[in-house]
C-alpha cells in the first residue's frame, strides 16, 4: 500500500517525476532525422554522411583505375589489375 496523493486520490505529481535509480527522459523528444539516420547500416548509404561521399569517390577512382589497367600499351601488355578487369 502506498500512501501518497496519487495512489489515494489520483492526483498528478506536483513535480517532474524522476526515478532516482533508473533515470529516464522526462519528455519525448521530437524525431531527429540525423539521429535516426545516423545509426546502423543506414548510415553507410546516408548522403549526409561524409563517409558516403568518400566511399563514392574511392569507388569511382578505383573503378577507373581498374578500367585503365586493361589498356594495352604497344606490343607489350602491361597487366596491372586493380579492381575489376
Amino acid at each position: 500500500m502506498t500512501w501518497d496523493a496519487q495512489s489515494l486520490y489520483g492526483m498528478g505529481s506536483a513535480h517532474p517525476v524522476v526515478n532516482p535509480v533508473n533515470a529516464a527522459p522526462t519528455q519525448h523528444m521530437a524525431p531527429d532525422d540525423d539521429r535516426e539516420w545516423g545509426v546502423g547500416m543506414r548510415a553507410l548509404v546516408n548522403p549526409r554522411n561524409p563517409l558516403f561521399w568518400v566511399g563514392a569517390l574511392m569507388a569511382v577512382t578505383v573503378g577507373a583505375a581498374g578500367l585503365a589497367g586493361s589498356v594495352r600499351l604497344g606490343p607489350a601488355k602491361l597487366s596491372g589489375s586493380v579492381g575489376k578487369s
Partner: protein, 397 residues
C-alpha cells in the same frame, strides 16, 4: 508514479533543501505531537475576529478549537435562540498556510459536519440535545461531551429553542479544523517546519443579533477559546529529512448563494480547475421563517424535488430522486443522520468509499455545477455550499 524518493527542493512553495518525500519511512520514524497553540483566552467579542498565528513545527495535520463560556440572561423575559446557535457562534474558520489563503474558509457548522462525515469513530447517535423545542437524539452533530448551553436549573439552549427561564447558561463546544484531507496518510497536511512557513487561523465570531433574539432581556457573554495542534515531527533518516506526501493542499471553502427558485437550481461551483480533485460537497438551504434566521429546510421528499451534479453541456453522472433519498444515502455513508431536521445538511461524498475511484477530476469536468431542486421557493432563502478539494500545491487556491 508515486513521488516516493523525490527530493523536490521545494515543498508547498517553501524552499526545503534536503527534504525527501517518503511516506513509509516517515511513518516509521515520526512522532505524533499535540500541543497548545493558544491556551484559554477570552475572545475578541461577538462580530469580531481572533487571528491566531500558529507555531512553525513539523507536519500539521489538524487543529482542535475549543470554545467555552457562559451566556447570562438577567431579565425574566424570553430570549429565543436562532437556528445558528450553537455551532454558528464560530461564524467562520479561516486558515491560511504557506501563501495559500483560505485553505479552510467555512462555517463552524460545516466544520462539524465534515468531522462526522470523515471520522468513522465520531458518532452523534443517541446524544440528546434540544432543537426547535424538541429533544433530538439523532443528527445533532454533537459529541456527548459537548454542552450547547445548560443552566443550573436544567434549562437548555439549542437552535430555535427557547429556554424556559433566564439564568447563566454554560456551554462548551469543540471543532476540528481539517488541515489534512486524510489524517491517516497525511495527504494535504501542511509542511510547517521552516521559518518561511506562515500558518494563520482566524476565528470570526457571529454577531449577537444572528445568534438570538433578545426579548427585552439583557445578556452578558463570557467566551473563551483555545487552539491545539496535532502535528508530526520531521525525522532525519540517513542524513535526509523525510516527509509524507505534502505535494498537495486540502481545501474546505464555502460560499452562499441567494435567489433560489422552485424547481431546478443550478449552482455553478467556483474555482474549478485542472489539478484539483473534488472530495465532497456540503450544503444546506436555509430560510428566514417566522423571523428566525437560517432555519434549515427539512430534507424530505416534500421539500426537495431532487439532487444531482452536472458538468459540460448536460452530463449528469448522479442524481437523487428527492430529499429523502439523499438523506438515506448520506446516512449510509457517514453513519450519522446529518439530514435530520436539526441541521438538514446534505452531502455529496466522493471520497469516503473509494476516493481513487470516485473523486471528481475537475480538470475533466468543465462548468461543474450542483442541481438542487426545491419544491417551493424559499421566501428569503439561500444555499450554503462548501467544496472540499485537494489540489497540487503550486496550482493556487
Amino acid at each position: 508514479m508515486a513521488p516516493t524518493g523525490l527530493t523536490p527542493g521545494q515543498i508547498q512553495g517553501i524552499s526545503a533543501p534536503g527534504v525527501t518525500i517518503n511516506p513509509p519511512l516517515f511513518y516509521a520514524a515520526t512522532r505524533r505531537m499535540r500541543f497548545n497553540q493558544v491556551t484559554t483566552q477570552a475572545f475578541a467579542g461577538l462580530g469580531s475576529t481572533d487571528p491566531v498565528t500558529l507555531r512553525q513545527t513539523g507536519i500539521v495535520s489538524s487543529l482542535e478549537v475549543r470554545v467555552s463560556g457562559t451566556l447570562t440572561t438577567t431579565v425574566a423575559d424570553v430570549t429565543a435562540m436562532s437556528a445558528r446557535w450553537p455551532y454558528g457562534l464560530a461564524k467562520r474558520f479561516k486558515l491560511s498556510a504557506n501563501g495559500q489563503s483560505n485553505l479552510i474558509d467555512a462555517r463552524g457548522l460545516t466544520v462539524k459536519c465534515h468531522e462526522l462525515a470523515t471520522n468513522p469513530e465520531c458518532s452523534d447517535r443517541g446524544i440528546t440535545k434540544f432543537a426547535g423545542a424538541v429533544a433530538q437524539t439523532q443528527g445533532t452533530l454533537a459529541m456527548a461531551s459537548e454542552n450547547w448551553g445548560t443552566s443550573p436549573g436544567g434549562n437548555q439552549l439549542g437552535p430555535r429553542h427557547t429556554p424556559g427561564a433566564v439564568g447563566v447558561f454554560t456551554f462548551d463546544l469543540t471543532y476540528v479544523i481539517p488541515v489534512a484531507a486524510d489524517p491517516v496518510s497525511l495527504v494535504g497536511a501542511v509542511f510547517a517546519q521552516t521559518t518561511g512557513t506562515n500558518l494563520t487561523l482566524e476565528i470570526e465570531w457571529e454577531t449577537e443579533v444572528n445568534l438570538l433574539t433578545i426579548g427585552g432581556a439583557t445578556t452578558a457573554w463570557a467566551v473563551n477559546y483555545e487552539v491545539s495542534s496535532i502535528a508530526y515531527s520531521i525525522p532525519q533518516v540517513n542524513g535526509q529529512f523525510v516527509v509524507p506526501d505534502v505535494t498537495t493542499f486540502h481545501q474546505l471553502s464555502e460560499f452562499r448563494r441567494a435567489g433560489l427558485t422552485a424547481g431546478d437550481n443550478e449552482i455553478l461551483l467556483p474555482g474549478v480547475g485542472v489539478g484539483r480533485k473534488l472530495l465532497r460537497i456540503y450544503g444546506q438551504v436555509t430560510d428566514t421563517i417566522g423571523g428566525v434566521l437560517s432555519v434549515p429546510i427539512p430534507l424530505t421528499a416534500a421539500t426537495y424535488g431532487g439532487f444531482a451534479w452536472r458538468y459540460g453541456g448536460n452530463d449528469t453522472p448522479e442524481q437523487w430522486a428527492n430529499g429523502q433519498t439523499m438523506r438515506y444515502t448520506q446516512e449510509r455513508l457517514t453513519g450519522s443522520d446529518i439530514g435530520s431536521p436539526v441541521w438538514a445538511m446534505w452531502l455529496y461524498d466522493f471520497a469516503s468509499e473509494n476516493a481513487l475511484r470516485d473523486v471528481v477530476d475537475e480538470g475533466q469536468t468543465s462548468d461543474l455545477r450542483l442541481v438542487v431542486n426545491l419544491v417551493a421557493a424559499p421566501a428569503a432563502g439561500a444555499v450554503q455550499v462548501a467544496q472540499e478539494t485537494l489540489f497540487l500545491a503550486p496550482a493556487g487556491a
